[in-house]
Symmetry: C2
Subunit: 281 residues, 2 copies
């Protein structure tokens, strides 16, 4: 399939994601980081998947990934139930079970916590909904992950206190005792970022559902090794691509809406790539 845009670090396709994914080489992608259209949302641009159809729709677009992903690759999906009549929808539950039934391994439940609580809208008689799920699936339970990538420097990691090397989450990645990556704590399963986009990008991020680039970067660093390939089948404004390139990964984006494929290409092409894989990981 012919790319809509291509450079050394990014490839953007305009087309239906199932078709595009079917055309990608086997084991060519390390990680998928995406925020698909939620059920009943974005009707204007994506047709608005109905709740009842959502689990099957998700299983279908993810099926080609079983071939396209590397064996230790994984998928991070941001979806969220809506509230109707004071009750939350169940389509995310049913989607998770459908993916398990389809053979996917559910690795963990990660959370995006909206700093400051996010927009104060919603049901005025209920607590403000201030977090969203990042559902993490892999081909099996052994998916690649760097638990230290988003960790904070720490003064109290066990090894530093008693003279042993600090190897939290590091031996796991093949590190050796004599080259420890010391003083960084394991990250939590929660990413805390404001909902706001970078206002500098505002002209180029006119998309109904952009998530903040900092969140995308957190996800990329967690599940894609440095120098690897990140895929977003619902590229939208291209935030995942920007985050991937800014963190020394390559990007493959897909969008069925030409305007968004163009927007992704524009933003991705402007992002100065980071090639220093050594320290930033």
């Amino acid at each position: 399939m012919t790319p809509y845009y291509e450079d050394d670090f990014a490839t953007i396709y305009h087309g239906d994601c199932a078709e595009v994914l079917a055309s990608l080489p086997s084991e060519s992608v390390d990680a998928v980081v995406t925020s698909p259209p939620y059920a009943e949302q974005r009707k204007a641009t994506y047709g608005g998947i109905r709740e009842a159809d959502y689990p099957g729709w998700t299983v279908r677009w993810m099926e080609p990934l079983k071939r396209v992903l590397k064996p230790d690759g994984s998928v991070l999906i941001n979806i969220r139930p809506h509230v109707l009549g004071g009750q939350i929808s169940d389509y995310t539950l049913r989607t998770r079970l459908a993916l398990r039934d389809a053979g996917w391994a559910e690795l963990d439940e990660l959370i995006w916590m909206k700093k400051g609580g996010g927009p104060p809208l919603g049901h005025s008689g209920r607590p403000r909904r201030s977090w969203e799920s990042l559902h993490w699936f892999g081909l099996d339970g052994r998916a690649w992950c760097d638990p230290v990538a988003n960790g904070a420097p720490s003064e109290s990691i066990g090894g530093l206190r008693d003279g042993r090397a600090a190897t939290a989450g590091w031996k796991h990645l093949g590190g050796h005792q004599n080259e420890p990556r010391p003083g960084i704590s394991r990250s939590l399963d929660v990413a805390t970022f404001s909902t706001r986009n970078n206002p500098n990008d505002s002209a180029d991020t006119n998309h109904p559902a952009p998530y903040p680039p900092k969140l995308a970067a957190w996800c990329v660093r967690l599940i894609c090794p440095p120098g690897g390939v990140v895929l977003d089948p619902f590229s939208g404004s291209g935030s995942t691509g920007v985050a991937a390139i800014a963190n020394g990964r390559r990007y493959v984006g897909v969008d069925v809406v030409e305007e968004y494929a163009a927007m992704s290409a524009r933003r991705v092409s402007k992002e100065p790539p980071v090639l220093d894989f050594g320290g930033a990981a």
Copy 2:
């Protein structure tokens, strides 16, 4: 059924919760706040419900609540999947769907965020799991809730700026424009508390799964009106009871293990009740 312990503010039963609940008067409980034994956990004391049985087991113990709860009462359940072979268990998903199938309305997904990340345990190659779910169910979508009870004082509530009364989450509770409860923002759907118990309680809280009293208090204030009755069918060390009484509610606790019924009675009887329902709400 004869209570194991009883005073003006608390009643503790020693027995199987399904039997005890069946013996309680209709519409006598405003809210249930509980942390049942997780699947495959606490085998020594509770027999260790198997994962496959967990949804049915939950539906069964909750069934009598449809009669015992007031029509606008609701239930807050703290359970958590475990990790095995790098994959999370699905029993909480299936339990939520089973409760929906049984006619319960799922009102929201609330979260307990463990301040500081909680114990740094778990799989060392993965992010530290630092939150747990509080699943909120009601008889229908109109359950009682005070969205402001746990809110923080705010200087920037809309009404304060332009002279209108600030009635966030207050009109909902029957407040009038001329008696606003101003300057308190709606709480978030996240409760952030450390995992630590009050060290003063340590002698009396030797229970395998105590959640912190501050978390229980947050839950009580959210879903039980001042002066109402809070029920915990898995009373354990009695933290829910302590929180209820300290916040001007009454408590009904049940535990199948006599040692825990006794522990609940002991802690509850020591807690000085708060009777000033006026301001603390």
